[in-house]
């Protein structure tokens, strides 16, 4: 029996196990949307802006490990997806984005709502397709989902002209993909693994830097085995947070620009870096020429193009973190690095990075810590970008695997609300807290309507300081306190929330924090709390731009001036 292109798309999505699609329709997608109701297995969620569809699909993908699917019409619908697709690309999230396109005879003629979306998204997708023949739909979808979820995951875009959705053909869903040029290396080369084990067994001051690759390959147990067997301290990248329990004695938190001082010291002093599923991003390494000056480097990553890209590597191992660690663990000797671990513990005691100072005002660090206390560390935390993101990364303790979702590579303000929504849709039984800034929240605030419509019980905490806070912090430290374009006149978020139909509270005093969080948790629906935090509170520790990890500023009031002077020279490099 012949099916229409639209039916073939739905059949393909069902075959791939898709349950949820985030999207907005439009003229070029009418045939597909007209078919959707015949496939009750496919739950379509109407968002309020296509950027929200892409971020929600990514939040869903990251919380569940499944492929997130978003749908947008041609032209502006498709171009509105772009930021979300780029975000998924940089953070290696599995996503299939489907866009409508004008009918084939109109392509290339600047037709109404025509845009060259395959051209536009070429550098920000793992691969993309313009479907010109209805018969190729099954093969295209099979390949797209395979590419999205295997190897280093990423976004795939499929552009579907309107008339292709109407054309008919026989539907045969392929059982296998045929992509001769695409064969990700998973196992890791035995000789390299042997070399790595030798280095590990000989090292005196080893440290593991774990990244998001550990979460993607679910190598939690394997990482823990390596850490405990060889007694190697662990630090993580921002996106590596929650790949290893932070309350573990050998966990030393996050490294990088706003990492823990002792974590940065450890990397600086180590004689061996074991980098697992991370890509030596500049925010993690700080000044790259001064990164880990005494260390040999083992780099385990599934993407060969990441090896040697930013940092010289002594032992590269291309492969899946889980598969490689399973083999590596067998060759790693039971180890003890008592002096080294003692050194790290001393640094942690002498340079505490998580002490919350006394303050009359409401401190964001305190708020985050109380959210941790009330949720008992069981929530999925989805953050925005900037100060709120760093406070959430630092002051919540992540013991549950994959409980931190944040926009790392692209740093997309506005990610938080739709991504938290997508995570809640994917994990309805888990508590999901969206930690937002007042600036970022306003970039995708219309998704509050989606949250209410879908009755998704997302809890939203705004770190409301009336500034684009992270940029203001840089202006304070490096641009002579000239606050250009950073003050933000916010709306009354409580009224906004109420207008959208969700419950909300404003909190201005410390003593109201815990009751408010408890009230939000007790509410069966979505809930928003507007925390009026200290307006000029900064994020510390901080490695100034252009400085090395070891040059971390811990006590701002004493050392900020010195840092300003030393950073002035290098600020133009960032």
């Amino acid at each position: 029996m012949k099916l229409t292109g639209a039916q073939m798309v739905c059949e393909s999505l069902v075959k791939e196990g898709v349950e949820v699609i985030f999207g907005i329709l439009g003229g070029a997608l009418l045939p597909l949307y007209d078919t959707l109701p015949h496939y009750p297995k496919l739950r379509h969620i109407l968002v309020r802006h296509e950027q929200g569809a892409a971020h929600a699909a990514e939040g869903y993908a990251r919380a569940t490990g499944k492929v997130g699917v978003c749908l947008a019409t041609s032209g502006p619908g498709a171009s509105n997806l772009v930021t979300g697709i780029a975000n998924a690309h940089l953070d290696s999230s599995p996503m299939v984005a489907i866009t409508g396109q004008v009918a084939r005879p109109f392509i290339g003629k600047d037709a109404f709502q025509e845009i060259d979306i395959t051209g536009i998204t070429q550098p920000i997708t793992k691969h993309n397709y313009l479907v010109l023949d209805v018969a190729s739909i099954p093969k295209t979808f099979k390949e797209a989902f395979h590419l999205a979820r295997t190897g280093r995951p990423g976004p795939i875009l499929i552009d579907l002209p309107r008339d292709v959705q109407i054309d008919q053909a026989e539907f045969h869903y392929p059982s296998k993909v045929n992509l001769p040029s695409y064969k990700p290396t998973l196992e890791g080369h035995p000789a390299q693994i042997k070399k790595a084990a030798k280095l590990i067994n000989e090292s005196q001051r080893p440290i593991i830097i774990a990244g998001r690759g550990v979460i993607i390959s679910t190598a939690y147990a394997e990482l823990k085995e390596l850490v405990e067997e060889a007694q190697i301290p662990v630090v993580t990248t921002l996106l590596g947070i929650s790949c290893f329990p932070e309350s573990h004695a050998l966990s030393y938190g996050m490294i990088g620009m706003h990492g823990m001082a002792y974590a940065n010291f450890a990397v600086d002093a180590a004689d061996l870096i074991i980098a697992i599923g991370m890509r030596f991003d500049d925010r993690a390494t700080a000044k790259v020429s001064a990164f880990a000056p005494h260390a040999r480097v083992i780099h385990i990553d599934i993407d060969p193009a990441e090896i040697g890209k930013n940092v010289r590597v002594d032992v590269p191992i291309v492969g899946d973190a889980k598969a490689v660690l399973q083999k590596l663990n067998k060759q790693v000797a039971t180890g003890q690095h008592l002096d080294w671990v003692q050194q790290l513990d001393d640094w942690r005691r002498e340079h505490p990075s998580l002490v919350i100072r006394d303050s009359q005002g409401l401190l964001p660090q305190y708020v985050i810590r109380q959210i941790y206390e009330v949720t008992k560390g069981e929530a999925i935390i989805v953050t925005g970008v900037g100060q709120n993101q760093m406070w959430a990364a630092q002051h919540y303790w992540y013991d549950k695997p994959n409980s931190f979702i944040s926009s790392g590579g692209l740093g997309t303000m506005g990610f938080e609300l739709p991504a938290a929504f997508g995570a809640k849709i994917g994990c309805p039984d888990k508590t999901v807290w969206c930690i937002a800034g007042d600036g970022g929240l306003q970039m995708t605030i219309q998704e509050l309507a989606t949250i209410v419509q879908e009755k998704a019980a997302v809890k939203i905490a705004i770190m409301d300081n009336g500034y684009l806070g992270m940029v203001r912090q840089w202006q304070e430290l490096f641009y002579g306190k000239r606050y250009v374009a950073t003050p933000v006149t916010g709306p009354d978020f409580v009224k906004i929330a109420e207008a959208y139909g969700l419950s909300a509270l404003k909190v201005e005093r410390k003593e109201d924090v815990i009751p408010a969080i408890k009230k939000a948790m007790a509410d069966p629906g979505p809930f928003l709390i507007d925390f009026k935090i200290e307006p000029e509170e900064n994020v510390y520790p901080m490695v100034p731009p252009g400085a090395a990890l070891s040059e971390v500023i811990e006590e701002p009031r004493k050392k900020a001036k010195a840092a300003t002077d030393s950073a002035k020279l290098s600020v133009s490099n960032i």
Partner: protein, 175 residues
Amino acid sequence: MTKHTLVALVEDKPGVLNQMASLFRRRGFNIESIAVGHSEVPHLSRTTIVVNGATTTVEQVRKQLDKLVDVVKVSDITDEEIISRELALIKVKTTAASRSEIIEIVDIFRANIVDVGANSVTIEVTGDEDKVNSLLKLLRGFGIKEITRTGCIAMTRGGTGPPPKEKKSPEAKEK
């Protein structure tokens, strides 16, 4: 900065050339030449790309090229023993006095005259880049009206198949 010759076996599909070129564009490389044509395998094309760049950056681009789903194989054959050729068409001004001298130069270079007009001749020359450049240098004195060059195509010497996949990359070191 050194000159690199990359050879890639790619799917014969729309957009592939764009994807490849885009990886160089993003890093601000100027592609000196790029030549594409069918290969010995149906549906696959072989591309020869010549670029100037730092070795580490070119190696990074090579790896990125290799990640493209439509790129089957890509090698940097700069340090291999290779045969490289390009074809050029050169239209030179002629007068009754200069024509015989031009024909003589053409003969020395084993080039061909493929078209003759009232006051010009068009010369076809095949060879490596140096040979084409040498001929151009000699012809310049007569007045060159137009040049078109195909860009370099290249292949490794000896053996039976295409060159090994990669030479200096870390993955190769593993093997």
